[in-house]
């Protein structure tokens, strides 16, 4: 990693670590928790949708899995409040293992067919969440025990847990960029048959990326369920969660480290603001779509890659003139 990159990362995390100590505003903390949630989600989605070029629309199924898993285990007691956080790696590992056969089958298809297969997984998961009453509580939902955290700083543990997952997702993303697995995924995205031809173990690499991506997504779902205190199927296995991850990644820039971060930091506050201004009638989704469409028309590859392309072109023109 370059010195500039280290500096950028250090500044980013230092400011996020200090943020909760600088404000006591509940709504601001709440907004940041959701922003970090989507940073972690879109960075995780980017591992498979960005680097490998497999646009999964089924990630919310695993988000819901993490949410229900946490809710079921901690429905009666959360002890001193910390066990659900400590339990998160189990949630991630179980979701990742569960995803291996799904990924193996789904990734035999490509592009739009893969998107359709994965969205089918999402609707199957949603249907199960609604109908497996004994496990999920059906439409009545499933409650999680309330932690004994101080009410004035109630959001802080959730904030830091989300931040830890942001670090994990961005760390994975950075590792992908610098390792052979990242190179393999880029090759797969560029031309899967050629990648196979030069010795890339295509199926293995894709399934590993998918498992890691959904494992992280499930962990985020676990924290979300704990923070919300109640898991309803229409919110836990919600296509809008997947759409959010996809839009944020596309907006900031696919297959980049900072693209999903930027996308989340633009869209989540915008969504919260619009939702506040326009009420709970979901009209905010129209404005949300409008922002996205305009940005995609002006910056089709996402904000960061378009800016970096323009800077590179400018530099080239300058060199040519010199």
């Amino acid at each position: 990693m370059s010195r500039n990159g280290l500096l950028r990362g250090g500044l980013f995390f230092a400011s996020l670590i200090s943020f909760p100590f600088l404000t006591t505003s509940q709504w601001l903390t709440n907004m940041f928790i959701f922003t970090l949630m989507y940073v972690a989600l879109s960075s995780s989605w980017n591992l498979v949708g960005g680097y490998a070029g497999y646009p999964s629309l089924g990630h919310a199924a695993f988000f819901g899995f993490g949410a229900y898993f946490t809710a079921i285990v901690f429905q009666n007691s959360v002890g001193n409040g910390w066990p659900p956080f400590i339990f998160l790696p189990v949630v991630g590992i179980v979701a990742a293992l569960l995803s291996i056969p799904i990924g193996y089958v789904a990734m035999k298809t490509r592009a739009d067919v893969f998107a359709i297969v994965t969205i089918t997984v999402l609707f199957m998961a949603q249907s199960l969440a609604f109908n497996l009453h004994a496990v999920t509580g059906g439409a009545q939902g499933k409650g999680v025990a309330v932690p004994p955290f101080d009410s004035s700083t109630y959001g802080r543990p959730f904030y830091f847990a989300m931040l830890a997952l942001v670090a994990l997702a961005m760390g994975s993303s950075m590792y992908f960029r610098q390792s052979k697995i990242g190179l393999s995924l880029s090759a797969i995205r560029s031309d899967e048959d050629k990648a196979h031809g030069v010795g890339v173990q295509v199926t293995k690499v894709k399934v590993v990326a998918f498992a890691l991506s959904v494992g992280l997504t499930a962990m985020v779902g676990g924290i979300w369920a704990y923070y919300e205190g109640f898991v309803y199927p229409q919110f836990a296995v919600d296509p809008l969660i997947t759409i959010g991850m996809v839009l944020m990644t596309f907006l900031g820039g696919r297959a980049t480290l900072w693209g999903p971060v930027l996308g989340a930091f633009i869209l989540v506050p915008a969504q919260q603001y619009l939702s506040y201004q326009l009420g709970a009638n979901q009209f905010y989704l129209l404005a949300y779509a409008g922002i996205f469409l305009v940005t995609m028309l002006i910056l089709p590859r996402g904000i960061l890659p378009t800016i970096s392309d323009k800077l590179r072109l400018k530099k080239k023109q300058k060199e040519a003139l010199a």
Partner: protein
């Protein structure tokens, strides 16, 4: 194996697709450090010769020996391990990846980072484009530049034999010049190359030996310069009118 053993020899090789035969008893020898150019009309089996050597196509009969060892039954991956690298006719770079990443893909089966860095450096010495355009997307390069990177990438495995399949096909004159300069650079580096080329004049000009393939058989062999002077070859493949 003795030092006199040719690096590659094909003896009475027959091969084809389905029931039909494209190669009908090809005999060809490539010595170490030579550039051998195979010319011939369309459909004579030039590319098929390369495919039988790299293992992309199995032989039906005959023998393919590399360093004295029979390789006709080996998989293409095993032949790659022996040092036979095939640069196909179609564009084989990853267009969405940078030049540097494409070079790294050429060394994908290697694990020694130091060795990879050394070979990258060596390839960049021969083909400066590898360094100059390292961050450019391969898809944004011209056809000739892409071919140069493909050839440079083949060096990442330090091949004993490079199979070049019509490297100048579909390129404009300027790009073609770049490609043949690349072949010359490889020759000066002491590489052994089996080159298949539609552009007979340029192909033979950079080659030490040439072979004319007709209807699946080698009809004529000789030094590249001798074939260029051969009136029959000139009439058939170089576009020179018979006197």
């Amino acid at each position: 194996m003795t030092s006199n053993t040719p690096l590659l020899s094909l003896t009475e090789v027959t091969a084809g697709y389905g029931a039909g035969l494209v190669l009908k008893g090809v005999n060809l020898t490539v010595e170490r450090g030579q550039i051998v150019c195979v010319i011939g009309p369309n459909g004579s089996g030039k590319s098929t010769v390369l495919k039988t050597v790299s293992g992309l196509l199995g032989v039906k009969s005959g023998s393919v020996r590399f360093n004295g060892e029979e390789i006709s039954e080996l998989t293409s991956r095993r032949r790659l391990d022996l040092g036979i690298v095939h640069v196909p006719q179609d564009r084989s770079l990853f267009p969405g990846m940078s030049v540097h990443e494409n070079m790294m893909m050429g060394a994908f089966i290697l694990t020694d980072h130091k060795l990879i860095a050394e070979r990258m450096e060596r390839a960049a010495e021969l083909f400066p484009i590898v360094k100059v355009r390292a961050n450019a997307l391969a898809g944004s390069l011209s056809g000739g530049e892409q071919k140069q990177v493909e050839v440079a990438r083949s060096l990442m495995l330090d091949p004993a034999l490079i199979l070049l399949d019509e490297p100048s096909i579909g390129l404009d004159p300027k790009s073609r010049k770049l490609v043949f300069e690349s072949v010359k650079a490889l020759a000066e580096d002491g590489r052994t190359i089996l080159l298949v080329e539609q552009n007979a004049r340029s192909g033979l000009a950079v080659s030490s030996m040439g072979a004319v393939l007709e209807a699946g058989k080698v009809a004529l062999t000789g030094r590249g310069s001798d074939l260029l002077d051969d009136p029959e070859v000139a009439r058939l493949y170089l576009g020179v009118k018979a006197k």
